[in-house]
Point group: C2
Chain length 323, copies 2
């Protein structure tokens, strides 16, 4: 099953992206999957440095993720949150007791001067993750959601306000001064990747922050590895999260075509293949007209097999076709 596709780079946000990353990890030999993860969602909360997307990737790839909740750790308990609630503390961002150890450990490691990249790599080793997980940057980037005259830090919009405020745009504070992860850039320069997969994460708040770290999207465009984008929109709906709601509020067609247009306008020449769901097959001609090669498959990942099948489709697409 683990055909040697060579090294593969995936770009991922949180839960949706982690599903495909898990499929890719299953489909590749150990050590061949490299994942660059959004850190625009990172924030400081209760004195702790929290990296929600990195944790989702690490928990998922190490088999520790909570299948029932869809986020966090399996077998989690909430005694700290319950006690904090009785104290009238801030509990809108639910930190489980086991999850808390990750944040304490990382926060302390950052305070000793270690980089987020080193810390992420170290966490991966301690949890026997056999893929490489990288923060998109060790520099501070903070996604702000613009809603009319308001600027909401991402987690306040996403968790505290449950994605309710209508979105008028986004700002990635610090991104223009951020340096992309050095290891990823070196591997790109060495043409080390056979395929680049953009996971079906939210284009606006998960993938855009990664691609807007200076140098990264141009390196992907100019690289020999085909870039395979998987649509986060299936039959006009997002599998998870506010992608569809955001697209509607931004007056973008809530379809795979709308997703394609977003990437083509912002990152011209970067995406080679666009994987859309069978239910969207009718959009293929219009997407092809935009200059993307369309691949039709089953993109809804419920079971582990679904994830592996979609992963194989992406890998076959990248390895078989021309750039």
């Amino acid at each position: 099953m683990n055909r040697d596709y060579g090294a593969v780079l995936a770009l991922s946000g949180g839960v949706g992206g982690a599903k495909l990353a898990l499929g890719l990890a299953d489909a590749l030999p150990p050590g061949q999957l490299h994942v660059t993860v959004n850190t625009g969602d990172d924030f400081e909360h209760l004195g702790l440095y929290i990296s929600p997307d990195i944790d989702t990737l690490l928990y998922t790839l190490s088999g520790q993720s909570n299948q029932t909740l869809g986020w966090g750790l399996a077998g989690e308990t909430w005694n700290t949150m319950d006690a904090l609630q009785r104290l009238g503390g801030e509990t809108w961002f639910r930190l489980g007791d086991r999850d808390m150890a990750t944040h304490l450990w990382r926060t302390q490691a950052l305070q000793t001067g270690r980089s987020l990249s080193e810390i992420t790599s170290d966490l991966g080793k301690r949890w026997d993750v056999r893929s490489h997980v990288y923060p998109m940057s060790d520099d501070r980037v903070r996604t702000m959601v613009l809603s009319g005259e308001h600027r909401l830090p991402f987690q306040q919009y996403f968790v505290r306000d449950r994605c309710e405020p209508p979105v008028s745009g986004f700002s990635f504070e610090g991104v223009s001064a951020a340096r992309p992860n050095r290891k990823v850039m070196t591997l790109l320069q060495d043409a080390a990747f056979s395929t680049v997969v953009i996971c079906p994460s939210n284009p606006f708040v998960s993938v855009d922050p990664i691609l807007q770290v200076p140098g990264l999207w141009l390196a992907l465009r100019d690289n020999t590895a085909p870039v395979v984008l998987v649509s986060p929109i299936v039959a006009g709906q997002a599998i998870k999260g506010p992608t569809a709601k955001m697209m509607a509020e931004l007056q973008v067609p809530v379809t795979a075509l709308g997703v394609a247009q977003h990437y083509i306008v912002r990152y011209p020449g970067m995406v080679d293949y666009f994987v859309i769901d069978e239910s969207d097959a009718k959009l293929a001609p219009q997407i092809s007209e935009l200059g993307l090669r369309v691949v039709i498959g089953s993109t809804v990942m419920t079971s582990r097999e679904d994830k592996q099948q979609l992963a194989h489709l992406c890998l076959q697409t990248g390895s078989a076709g021309p750039r």
Copy 2:
């Protein structure tokens, strides 16, 4: 049972002192007990500000203390510590999941610029503590245990090293610049207390840090309220903790007499009454010769009734006798 003794000030370290403080709280009408607590044991750990003695007082007085462990919260769980241990993090200081909320809440409150006094008062209110608990100072004082050429931060000596290193002395970093709790000083200046009780806490690392905050012991000496000291040594042994071991290492007689000498030499004229255990009655003449009025009672506090009885003995001593 709650005879009106007027307002009472107690000086306390952690577990041993908190037992008598609970007895005093039971014996007095709500709001009449004021407790000044050692903060020389406070430390920063895992990015959290931890006040072990204040927490012991608050947990004990709010009925939340863990009777089985003898420290921490009742019904505690340890899932964060277990997860942190798997990560190879520092777990020598065991922070329970519920206890963690206290540290997160306090650390965050300190970061917003609130004082430890305000925070302690606020925690007391949230937990329905009907006594007043004060840190000895809002300024940073750190007890260091001297062991030969080594200087050990108190918690490293006490918890990590299990009090094993032989003690040659102590240093209270920052104490000479620390200001005593303002509320306590104001109440002392207003002669508001009928009695001052020095709880049977460790003289060297629990009571000395409090009394060495500039101005405090002289205010106690010059106050009209009798100062009643309860011996932490009973029949040559400490009920809890390293008091007896420290006295032996410091070449001080491990008896109530040794305790009396310690206070008389360091704080001449401050202590009026010295409560010793019945089992030490034979030491009464020698202690009297040092100029202290000896009160003999049952000082071993096992049950809630023991605590209340010792509290009543202290209160009766303070209210009945002359200064």
